[in-house]
């Protein structure tokens, strides 16, 4: 099937799905209650990609969301010592990352951002082996947290919270013989963690260009990672997250973006890719993990983000999406906003570094 034969992207319906999720979620979703910031980000991100933040939401709602987001910023460590985090404080690394992105999408001025607090928080989360835990001195640790720490530091343009060498060394230990990267050293390669590893290695300070060889990725690692990623594209066009698993729309982003970061996005079968994601659209709005599956904001956002990275020339205009910053996982316009408002010192005259 050529690009021109594809069904349309149901933009209005998908925006509607995320808008509804922003108001309320059913009881079947109780388990994501603690991850509201992440769900918020997937919804805001969807609206951002569809260019409908201002169309579909009112200023009073956006103000409310910004306020809600700031309400989640912990101003001091919980516990008796105001300088040290205890094991049981609960600002969360992944939620911090999604909160910053959400605020940027909502065009907040970031006056309230506690930059020093965040840097201290990152320091408290990094372990001996270079990995990061979800909360200070506790919680699970794997490449997702490393990625969030790197993304946050890069957005702050302040790496004093991270021991980069140790973190890079941890990432490299997660490299799997199959290609790709596992959650931890000795783990099986997974699509999500492969994205986290590669995005981190390309965000690391002193690495400037997506298309130049990366000092932290050996030729061999690169070659077998490309091979493993490409093998994960099923004949349906969708990507699976691991060897011998089924295709899933979210891996179209995790694996697709990984290939994009490695500079070999052209090797993806783009028409099949689009056709798979088109078939994952749910008839009442939203995108699910596979055709006929129920949609959710996570799969909706990641499908659109994947589509933004792999535009198809002859596809219907409904499929046209803005450029995506693959390393931060947000639109380039939002990335520009971040560069201008998140770091403590911004040099407005300088042209932004294209990643």
């Amino acid at each position: 099937m050529s690009g021109s034969e594809l069904p349309k992207l149901a933009r209005v319906a998908h925006a509607g799905h995320c808008n509804r999720c922003l108001s309320a979620l059913p009881s079947s979703h109780i388990q994501i209650d603690a991850s509201r910031l992440a769900i918020g980000f997937y919804c805001f991100g969807t609206l951002d990609l569809l260019g409908s933040i201002y169309e579909k939401t009112k200023e009073i709602e956006r103000e409310g969301w910004r306020e809600w987001l700031w309400h989640q910023q912990t101003n001091r460590p919980y516990g008796t010592d105001p300088e040290e985090y205890s094991e049981y404080d609960t600002p969360h690394l992944i939620m911090t990352y999604t909160a910053i992105l959400s605020l940027a999408i909502l065009r907040d001025d970031f006056e309230q951002l506690d930059r020093n607090g965040i840097v201290r928080f990152l320091q408290a989360c990094q372990r001996e082996d270079g990995s990061f835990t979800s909360f200070p001195n506790g919680g699970e640790s794997d490449l997702r947290q490393v990625y969030c720490a790197f993304a946050i530091s890069s957005m702050l343009d302040d790496w004093s919270g991270v021991d980069v060498d140790r973190a890079v060394s941890f990432i490299q230990q997660c490299s799997s013989h199959e290609g790709g990267y596992g959650q931890q050293p000795t783990g099986e390669a997974l699509g999500g963690t492969t994205y986290c590893a590669l995005a981190s290695l390309y965000l690391a300070p002193s690495v400037s260009d997506l298309h130049a060889p990366n000092p932290h990725v050996t030729t061999d690692e690169r070659r077998r990672t490309i091979r493993w990623l490409l093998q994960n594209q099923a004949s349906s066009g969708g990507f699976s997250g691991r060897t011998n698993k089924d295709a899933d729309a979210c891996y179209c982003f995790w694996c697709g973006a990984s290939l994009h970061i490695l500079g070999v996005g052209d090797l993806v079968d783009r028409t099949a890719f689009l056709s798979y994601l088109a078939s994952c659209q749910f008839k009442f709005g939203g995108i699910g993990k596979a055709p006929e599956d129920r949609p959710d904001p996570y799969h909706t956002y990641l499908s659109l983000a994947a589509l933004a990275l792999f535009p198809l020339e002859d596809a219907d205009p409904s499929w046209k999406l803005p450029r995506l910053n693959a390393l931060w996982n947000t639109t380039e316009d939002t990335a520009d906003w971040i560069r201008q408002h998140v770091p403590l010192y911004t040099v407005k005259a300088q042209s932004p570094v294209r990643k």
């Binding site: 388990q31 094991e87 699970e140 093998q231 011998n244 090797l267 993806v268 129920r294």
Partner: protein, 315 residues
């Protein structure tokens, strides 16, 4: 989200479901507000502890509440209690997390809490036997993770946890018994890549310690993989494992044997000459075939062919 199923309802049933949902949500939100308020006011009572149990049963992904629970263990439940009582409290939480894992096998917070419990088992039962509690509890963990892998042999949380247990338990079983475990899992299902992956890790250890002779072992592995290949040549796991084996031994004779084997599988005449030109032509021919039978990766094969041609020209 992953795993939420679609069900069809009649109008009346839909109304009833809506009401149940509404009540469930109301109860959840009330409980959640109560627990968080108590956490903020540093409530370390038994009552608060029971409430966290109730809340975690409804929402085991609520990491803040797992943290609060651990806080209560450390600050109020453990102090003033004997090692035997502490051990019992932790055993109860291990039972709780096992129960929750059966319903929620991929929730990071539950696996994480389990690790925390294991790592906080006290010395005991006596000064002569300070590791008794630990040994008995840790020894049960392999059983727990086996149950989880029986339910879902690809659950990477369970496999990672299995590796953690084997690396940390006081008296782990010998690596050869883990090798046997991977054999069982592979024989149950060749496409279980997680089992092949684990096998590669265990073998590496056995080769490094000298427990298994590397050369002989690799021969046996090639045999195993050839069986799998001929049983199901479409299985990705087998080829990735094969590539790993090849990478682990640079024996020209072995390479030649493998190439011959694979050519037989492709129903081709095994090639006897292996000069450079023959190899290059053979590769280009195979790549052309691959383009036809594996369209999603067309561009990749073109790229590889280009690389071979230009490399060849440079010589």
């Amino acid at each position: 989200m992953h795993g939420v199923k679609r069900v069809q309802y009649s109008q009346a049933a839909l109304e009833a479901k809506k009401q149940r949902d509404h009540d469930k949500l109301k109860a959840y939100l009330a409980l959640s507000d109560d627990v968080i308020a108590r956490k903020k006011s540093h409530d370390m009572s038994n009552e608060a502890f029971e409430l966290t149990t109730r809340l975690l049963r409804m929402n085991p992904e609520f990491y803040t509440v797992w943290n609060y629970r651990r806080d209560m263990f450390i600050e109020s439940l453990f102090p003033q209690r004997s090692p035997s009582e502490v051990n019992e409290l932790l055993s109860d939480d291990l039972s709780l997390t096992f129960e929750l894992l059966k319903q929620h096998p991929k929730v990071y917070g539950i696996w994480n809490h389990r690790r925390w419990c294991l790592e906080h088992i006290p010395d005991g039962p006596s000064p002569d036997d300070v590791n008794g509690y630990r040994n008995s509890t840790w020894n049960k963990e392999l059983f727990v993770v086996e149950k989880m892998l029986d339910a879902d042999a690809r659950n990477f949380h369970a496999w990672n946890y299995r590796r953690y247990i084997l690396a940390t338990m006081p008296f782990p079983p010998p690596p050869k018994s883990e090798l046997a475990y991977t054999t069982r899992k592979i024989e149950a299902n060749f496409s279980n890549f997680s089992a092949w992956h684990q096998r590669s890790k265990v073998l590496t250890t056995l080769w490094e310690t000298g427990e298994l002779d590397r050369v002989k072992s690799i021969e046996e592995e090639f045999e195993l993989v050839r069986n799998a290949m001929y049983t199901d040549p479409d299985d990705q796991s087998v080829w990735i494992y094969h590539a790993w084996l090849i990478g682990n031994g640079n024996y020209a004779a072995r390479l030649q044997f493998e190439i011959t084997s694979i050519q037989e599988l492709l129903d081709e005449q095994p090639d006897s000459k292996w000069d450079k030109k023959a190899l290059v032509d053979s590769c280009l021919e195979l790549l052309a075939k691959l383009r036809d039978i594996d369209p999603p990766r067309r561009r990749r094969y073109d790229e590889i062919a280009e690389g071979i041609r230009s490399g060849n020209e440079m010589q």
